[in-house]
């Protein structure tokens, strides 16, 4: 069966246009067509000037996050048929500046991500420079943080967060969930560092638990839960391990030479 779908794309170039306006394209439907496929068809055959960001086409890179029929989604991970309508409206994500058309500026998003120190922090510098073994992790400890490692930084959670919409200094669900991911990691010793950054008037306490972040995450991550779990550590004023404690455990575990001292 062949039919056309109506694809309305928000067009906006901040350097030229005063306000955004929708432009309609007619795209021939095909079995298994995703919204990204439809957009690329419109761009390739009807209007080369449509600006959109995409890369992997398999929900791994998070580049093609946009609002489809009013809801933030990955365009490559959304089939036209699952929308239940042949009329599709595509807009850029909320809570971000528009660079052009469907491309948003994620600069502030990644800046906030950076602020929560999204990597393991260890005091045993010499072990990291000259490794003698592995930092082992118990399976149950991995289970506690595993879902948060699936984050692809697409920005959908942050774009749908009502607190981010009103409070520009709020780190947002992605950054807070990542703070929890590293803070709860039993190999990490940077808890105090993150806690001091997040125990702020615009920090972790400003989440109102609307839950849209968890409802919309295309990877099934539950940032709202991560934020609630993060609050336990922030209330305690520290992470599960202080500086140097991980190194002592590393020495005891026998996975390395145990020569590291802090």
């Amino acid at each position: 069966m062949t039919r056309d779908i109506s694809l309305r794309v928000q067009r906006f170039d901040p350097s030229k246009d005063r306000k955004p306006a929708d432009k309609e394209y007619r795209v021939p439907w095909r079995q298994g067509m995703t919204v990204l496929d439809a957009l690329l068809y419109a761009r390739d055959y009807q209007d080369h000037s449509i600006a959109l960001r995409f890369s992997c086409r398999q929900a791994s890179c998070g580049s093609c996050a946009m609002k489809v029929n009013g809801r933030a989604r990955l365009a490559c991970y959304t089939q036209v048929d699952e929308l239940g309508s042949d009329s599709i409206v595509v807009r850029p994500m909320d809570n971000f500046e528009i660079v052009k058309d469907l491309v948003t500026d994620l600069g502030s998003f990644f800046e906030k991500h950076k602020q929560v120190t999204p990597h393991l922090v260890r005091a045993d510098d010499s072990e990291q420079d000259n490794p003698t073994g592995e930092y082992v992790m118990k399976p149950e400890a991995l289970e506690e943080i595993l879902q948060f490692t699936y984050c692809i930084k697409c920005g959908i959670c942050t774009s749908s967060c009502p607190t981010v919409a009103t409070d520009a200094k709020f780190p947002g669900p992605q950054a807070l969930a990542q703070a929890y991911r590293y803070l709860a990691d039993e190999r990490d010793e940077g808890g105090d560092l993150r806690v001091s950054a997040l125990d702020d008037v615009h920090g972790v306490w400003r989440c109102h638990f609307a839950g849209t972040c968890s409802a919309l995450c295309p990877k099934g991550v539950d940032p709202a839960m991560g934020i609630q779990l993060l609050r336990r550590h922030v209330l305690a004023g520290k992470g599960p391990r202080g500086p140097g404690e991980g190194a002592k455990e590393f020495a005891r575990s026998g996975t390395g030479t145990g020569s590291e001292s802090t």
């Binding site: 607190t163 009103t166 409070d167 520009a168 200094k169 709020f170 125990d199 702020d200 008037v201 615009h202 920090g203 306490w205 400003r206 609050r231 922030v234 209330l235 004023g237």
Partner: protein, 116 residues
């Protein structure tokens, strides 16, 4: 003060307020008919009981701290300028102190039977 401490105060005052307000409504709206409860004489007679007056003072402080701290949070979300944040914090403390002082004055005057 760390934001986490302020939030603990916020949650604690919320829980305490639920208990105190429930008790207050029970005493003034259930055990006594509403029309009687809001009569001038009935209200004054409450203050004749020092224990109940003390209870009202605690209720006053708990509700005002919770309410103004809640407004502080909303105002911080409204704007994020440094100067604004400073004035919101100062204003919150001032509002709590002044409101508690005024409410306490009313309770003290009522307890000692002084007509204001």
């Amino acid at each position: 003060m760390r934001e986490s401490r302020l939030m603990v105060i916020q949650y604690a005052t919320a829980l305490i307020a639920v208990v105190l307000v429930s008790f207050h409504l029970l005493m003034q709206g259930v055990l006594v008919s509403y029309s009687t409860a809001i009569s001038y004489q009935q209200i004054l007679s409450i203050y004749g009981n020092a224990l109940y007056a003390g209870f009202l003072e605690v209720l006053l402080i708990v509700v005002l701290v919770h309410g103004f701290n809640g407004v502080r949070i909303i105002l911080h979300e409204l704007r994020q300028a440094v100067a604004w944040a400073k004035w919101v914090d100062v204003g919150t403390v001032a509002a709590i102190v002044l409101s508690v002082a005024y409410g306490t004055r009313t309770i003290v005057l009522a307890v000692f039977g002084v007509q204001s």
